[in-house]
């Protein structure tokens, strides 16, 4: 019971923060309506939204790693991949070599898996297609615009790069 109320409270805080950042008018009626709507949304969606520890992301070392990842590590990878795909699209010969590869990933947490999958999808040139679990090991199916290696281990190292190590520091 305590666990559920903590989950509802965390979801309520997140919804209310987003409401305040999107309206930015600090009159009483806006704040009250925002609180009511956020509470309703939190009551209905907390079960789907939070499965583990509700305030895990607020621990100091986790939060610092998260901020470093979002502000410094991920934009560098995003820049490299964007320039690469823009070159491919603009060059006259159109050098593409697409394929769907299967890549092993060493993360256990659901949030970590979702975060790595969304990071891979956001970098142009790779889109995650599906996540499957076989004998306790998780696999991604990834559509890749330039298949440089058909060996799944090497392909995983080339696609994930530094992202997986940093995400393992955030989610176990």
């Amino acid at each position: 019971m305590k666990n559920k109320s903590a989950a509802v409270f965390a979801t309520f805080i997140l919804c209310y923060l987003v409401w305040i950042l999107f309206t930015l008018t600090f009159t009483a009626q806006e704040l009250i309506v925002g609180a009511i709507v956020s509470l309703l949304v939190a009551l209905f969606t907390a079960n789907y939204f939070i499965h583990e520890d509700a305030f895990y992301l607020l621990k100091p070392n986790v939060l610092i790693n998260f901020i470093i990842y979002v502000l410094f590590i991920f934009p560098v990878e995003l820049w490299k991949a964007n320039v690469d795909v823009a070159k491919r699209a603009l060059s006259p010969k159109l050098p593409i070599n697409p394929g769907i590869v299967k890549v092993p990933v060493d993360l256990k947490s659901e949030y970590g898996l979702a975060m790595l999958a969304n990071s891979i999808t956001l970098t142009p040139g790779t889109i995650t297609m599906d996540i499957v679990e076989e004998n306790g090991q998780n696999f991604y199916y990834i559509h890749w615009i330039d298949v440089a290696s058909k060996n799944s281990k090497e392909a995983g190292d080339m696609i994930k790069g530094r992202l997986e190590n940093w995400i393992r520091r955030i989610w176990k």
């Binding site: 950042l21 795909v85 823009a86 769907i100 995650t128 297609m129 559509h143």
Partner: protein, 113 residues
């Protein structure tokens, strides 16, 4: 004056990446690689322009505009990841099989989908 040059640089970068994404979306040969080019529009084609606009708003002490603009940019980037993932899987299950795939391990593992 120096702020204006920085803003112009950001806007030019955003326009360049959006242009590259549109050219890729028109030129690429099959559906899935077109989708890869559209990711180019949805990440840097949005982010650089939104950053330039937000810097302009912050330089004019217009904080409401700046924060709202940044929030809309972050929202577009986050949702485009989910949309791209969903529509790739949906298109594959609908039966779109590009003929130029060099390797297709999803087909090998799930042959009857």
């Amino acid at each position: 004056m120096i702020v204006r040059i920085i803003i112009d640089l950001f806007l030019i970068l955003g326009c360049f990446f959006a242009f590259a994404g549109v050219v890729g979306l028109l030129r690429m040969p099959d559906s899935f690689t077109r989708m890869q080019s559209s990711t180019n529009i949805a990440t840097f084609g949005v982010l650089w322009t939104v950053l330039g606009v937000a810097i302009y708003a912050f330089a004019n002490q217009n904080f409401v505009f700046g924060i709202k603009t940044l929030m809309i940019g972050i929202f577009i980037v986050l949702t485009s990841a989910v949309a791209g993932h969903a529509i790739l899987k949906g298109g594959y299950k609908h039966g779109i099989r590009p003929s130029n795939l060099v390797v297709d391990e999803y087909r090998r593992d799930n042959p009857n989908e």
